[in-house]
Structures are given as C-alpha cells and as structure tokens.
Amino acid sequence: MTAAATTTAPQPIPAPVPDPSPPEPSIHDFPLPSALLHPSSEPPTLITQGAEGRVYRTTWVDAGRECALKHRPAKPYRHPVLDARLTRHRILSEARILQKCRREGVAVPALYGVDEAAGLLALEWIPGAPVRVCVNGWIARRKERRRRLADGAVGDESKAQEGQDNSEPAVVAEVTADEEGADVLMDLLRRMGEAVGRLHKSGVVHGDLTTSNLMLRPWEKGKAPSNGHAETEQAAEESLDGEIVIIDFGLASQGTADEDRAVDLYVLERAFGSTHPKAEGLFPVVLDGYRGTFKGAPVVLKKLEDVRMRGRKRSMLG
C-alpha cells in the first residue's frame, strides 16, 4: 500500500455528470408477445414498461374495443426454475383476484383472458392516468403558479411575507391542507382511501399499493369517445376528477387479517411519502377516507400504528 501510494499521485475524480436521459422504450425494443402478431384492426402500442410487465394497448381481443395486454416476459436475471414458478403463480393469482374484485363490485379492470404459459393477461383498458402522474402534475402546476406569483410580485408585500420563511421558499414548500386549491387534491386522497377500503372489505390484500398502481379514470359522460382519450385524460389530470381503479394484483392475496391490511396501508403510506414528498403531510386524508368504508376499518388503523412503530424500531443496525 505504501509503495504504490508514494509513487503514483492520486487522480482526482470528476463530479458526476447528469446522464442524458435515454429515450423512452418503444415498441421496437422488445419482441412482441405472439398474441400481438395476429392481424389486428389497429397496431398495438407499448404503454409502459412497468415493474414486471410490459403493458400494450391493443384491439386484439375484440376488434374495435381497446384492451390492455399485460405481458410478463421471462426475467433472464433470475434462475429459470424460480422465474417460471413466480411468473405462473403471479399471473394466475392476479387473474383470480381480479375476478373476485369484479364480483364484489370493487373498481378494477375486467379480465378478458389469461394465458399463464405465455405470460399474458388481457384486461379492460382503463382510460386516464396513474394517480402518481396526476398528483405530480398537480404539484408541478402549483409550483409553476407560485413561481409566477413570486416573479410578478417583486418587492411587494406578499413577497416580503413569503420571504420571512427563509429556510424554504414558498415555491417549494410542502402542501398544507388549508392552502388554496388543496381541496381538489385532498378529495382525490379521500377517494384513494375509500377505494382501498372497499378492496379490503371484499377480502383482498393488494401487496403492492403505490400511486403507480392506482389509476384515475375520468367519469364517463354518456359514451366515452373511442378516440378522444387525450382530451379526457388532460381534463381529468387538471381537475383530479374521476374514479379510482386499482390495478396490478400480481402480489395480491385473499385475506381479512388486520395485520395484513395494516401492512398494505403502511406500504402505501411509505410509497406515497417518498414519491410525493411535498404532499406527504396530507396522507392522513387517505386514512380518513379509509376509516368510513367498513366496520373493521378503525381496528386496522389502530394496528397501523403498531406496524409503523415496528418500522421505526427496526431502523437498522450497522
């Protein structure tokens, strides 16, 4: 160590440079599942590369009707035996639980078909956007509004008042319940809680609740136009209006244990706080929404406190 250290001068390491963000994945990046190679009235589009699945929008199942085709490709990183076991199990359990939710009247996509050998699930297409996108959009619009306000008000009184809190400028401060416009966001959070409550009431625990796995579907006005999605999505995003639809049941299970339900809420709470740090303080509104949905809800919320405490205690050892 000493010999090397004295003969070669240590080289400085330059600062990390931000990555040029790579292009969004396109449909050409991945081999299509064979189901999508059949002739269809419209070509499929790749919507997202989720955590496990690639979701395509296609009219393959029923010409003219849009459907979401969720493909769970083999994961080459893991042992093939383990991979096959997990993929099969998750597709079948997702299908089974979607069926159960439909029967119980919980808002989830309808199941059109399942092919566990090919790793495919055909689902009703849900217009709208994931709640994550809606909440982030709301926060970005708020930031933009405040920035304009602050720029426009140079030197005047409101600026001076905002300036008092010099630890954090008002542009980026956390969202509070009483600020102007927060009611729209809080209403969305309440509907999230109610949706999760209805899911739990039906005897299902989700296992992966995040704002990516909750969709905000614009309310149907009469018949939804078949090609007018962009408009409705835009409108829904602005107003945060619409129905919460729960998706992604690959890690879901059936059960009514308070503990499992509380862990479900805990997972959502943590995911929400880390994904939307600016709105973290409003999460109790979700729990308020949850509280009223079924008789056992208050007990689950009590249990949630224990689960949180355990999490904090865990706070790890070196």
Partner: protein, 370 residues
C-alpha cells in the same frame, strides 16, 4: 437532532481536506480525501482498513469489536495521514460515523474522533453511515441520480433521492440480507475470513441445483428471516445425511443429496432475485434507469450480474464499486462529512454522540438540489 439554523455555505480557494473515521461494525476504516467545492472534484488520498475477524461459526460481538477498534485506532489513523501526506493542520474537519451501527464500536471511534478534534483543534462532523455509502458510490461510479440498493450486514434498503432527502422506498421487514448470509455461513461453519459472504459466493459458484426455499417480497419490501430458517432446516437435513452416509447408511429412494455448494447457490439465487425485483419495482415507480449498488453485499459478483441484466432490459445500467469502496471505509465518511461541512454544517463537541438507530431519510442533503 442538532440543526444549525443560520448555516452559511463555506467557500474556499482550492481543495478542502477531511479525515474520515468509520467503525460502526467490524471494520475500522480511516481515510483522507479532498474535495474542491468550485470544481466538485474529489481526490482519494488514503484509505486504510483493519478488520476484526472472529473464528468460524461465531459472529463478532460488540465488546470485542470495540476493543479491536480502540487497539488499532491510533496506528490506522497515523497510517492514513502518512499515506495521504496531509498534516492535521490542513484538515477542514474530522468526520466520524454517528450511526447507525453497533453501539460499543461506534462509541469507541467517536471517542477517538473527539480526542483528535480537541488535540488538533479541528471541528467535528457526525455522519450517517448510509449517506456515506451513497455519496461515495455516486462519486466513484459517476452515477448522478440513481436508484440506490444499499445492502450490508445491517441494512437492506432501496433508496431514491427527492427534495434533499434520500427516501427509503423499500426495505427489509426483518433482518438484513448480509445478516442472513452471514448467519447461514455460521450454520455451515464457513470461515469468516476475509468475510463470510465472499466464502458463500465461492461455494455457490460450484453449486447448480436450485433447492426449495421460500421467496418473500411485499411490494418494494422484502423479508429474509423465513428464508434463513428454511435454509437452516435444509442444512440440518444435510448434516443428517452426512452422518447417515458416514455410518454406511443410504439415502431414501429419490432423496436429493444436499451439498453446501447447492445450499449456497440456492440461497444466493433466491435472495438476490428478491433484491433485484424490489429494485426494479422502485425504478419503474420513479422512472429511473440507473441503479447503484452500495454496501458490503454490493461487491457480490452474482448480485452485480443479475442487477446488470435487469437494468439492461430497462435500457439502463448498473453502477457498482469494488471492495475498496463498497465495504465500510473511512473515506466515505470523510466525503459525506465534508460535503455537509461545506454547506455550513458542524457537530459541536457536546453533540458528538452516536446512535445505533439513524435512518437514512433523517439527513438533510443540503448539498444536492431540491
């Protein structure tokens, strides 16, 4: 937590020097680095480590580990300064691990840090160990804003940066992955030298049969204690088979002969698949394609390989460091401490305590943009 309310960034012409002192577990690591606030360039000047190795079949106890750190503190520190060619007067600050970690070893190093601070009249900066790993990993690999998988003997977390905090998206619900592997190494009585995970990895390379172990993922969280228990049961079966065969007996018709190689192989394939899965879920959720693996388990080649394949499938790449930087060391503490010091942070002598529990998301990351 002490937060100075009137923090002013510190400016300097040219590089600043810091000494980093780490001893939260069984490694005593001391190093010197410099960082230039103007160019944001980092230079590693020395990185010395002395590891406490316990006999096979045993773990390291806090008392013995603390004694080890006390015994070697002065000589390791002198070597670090000598290798760096830096004198105490050149140091901007003395950085030590405030936590998380084992109480007694943490304290013994903090006492050393305080002594040096008084002796040399240099300010102290208390550092979160996990933040040290993350900052070091970012600098070494050049990954600017990755999802971070932090895996060590005491921690298992999936982290992403947002609004001046390292947010924890997922973590273990019980024991850390490194702890699971270390304890299994003890079950098999594998040597602790150089470290148990390395020896498990070498055995796993010779295995190839996937035995039956549970798989425990909950969203972005995971759990290892059930897997460890099941692996211990398989190991007990293997020991029973050994005995039976040694006594001239025969296995039952169709019974698999369990070997340490296959056990290690299965354990690695299972727990690393879980880690890659929760990391991928976090990447999909935050829309990132960079992943940085830090912490002692991060130098496992199989984990890096699996992570690399996953990231490639998402059009991204994995960033990892070698054992000089991913295993606990002093320079990572120096780096995170110096970055905080440059923003005006300092730990007063009366506040220079340690804490076994210190969550990654408690630290205000003032040196990164909102």
């Amino acid at each position: 937590m002490t937060v100075a309310s009137t923090k002013q960034p510190r400016h300097a012409a040219g590089p600043l020097y810091a000494l980093g002192l780490e001893g939260s577990a069984n490694k005593l690591g001391i190093g010197v680095l410099s960082h230039d606030p103007a160019t944001n360039q980092t230079t590693i000047l020395s990185n010395v480590r002395h590891t406490f190795v316990s006999p096979p079949g045993t773990g390291f106890l806090p008392k013995d580990t603390a004694k080890h750190h006390r015994t070697h503190f002065a000589s390791v520190c002198a070597a670090a300064l000598r290798d760096a060619g830096v004198s105490p007067a050149q140091l901007s600050c003395i950085c030590y691990t405030k936590g998380p970690g084992m109480g007694a070893p943490l304290t013994s190093v903090a006492v050393g840090a305080r002594a040096l601070s008084l002796l040399w009249e240099r300010p102290l900066v208390g550092v979160n160990h996990c933040v040290g790993h993350i900052e070091m990993g970012r600098v070494i690999t050049g990954a600017s804003n990755p999802v971070v998988l932090y895996v060590s003997g005491g921690n298992t977390q999936v982290i992403a940066y947002a609004s001046q905090r390292y947010r924890i998206f997922g973590e273990t619900l019980d024991i850390a992955v490194g702890n699971c592997i270390d304890r299994f190494a003890r079950t098999l009585r594998i040597p602790n030298d150089p470290f148990p995970g390395y020896n498990v990895e070498q055995l796993a390379k010779k295995g190839g049969v996937l035995l039956d172990l549970p798989y425990a993922v909950k969203g972005m969280d995971c759990s290892f204690s059930g897997i460890l228990a099941a692996a211990d049961v398989l190991a007990a079966q293997m020991f029973a088979q050994d005995k039976l065969l040694a006594a001239g007996g025969a296995l039952k018709e169709g019974e698999t002969r369990i070997t340490p190689e296959d056990l290690c192989f299965t354990l690695q394939e299972t727990v690393y698949a879980m880690l890659v899965e929760i990391t991928e879920r976090a990447m999909a959720h935050v829309g990132s394609r960079q992943v940085l693996v830090v912490g002692g388990v991060g130098c496992n080649e199989r984990l890096q390989e699996m992570m690399g394949r996953m990231a490639a499938d998402r059009g991204g790449s994995v960033y990892a460091t070698d054992e000089r930087f991913c295993i606990d060391n002093g320079i990572m503490i120096a780096l995170a401490g110096l970055l905080a010091w440059e923003t005006g942070f300092e730990t007063r002598l009366e506040d220079s305590t340690c804490t076994q529990r210190f969550r990654t998301d408690e630290v205000h990351i003032a040196w990164r943009e909102d």
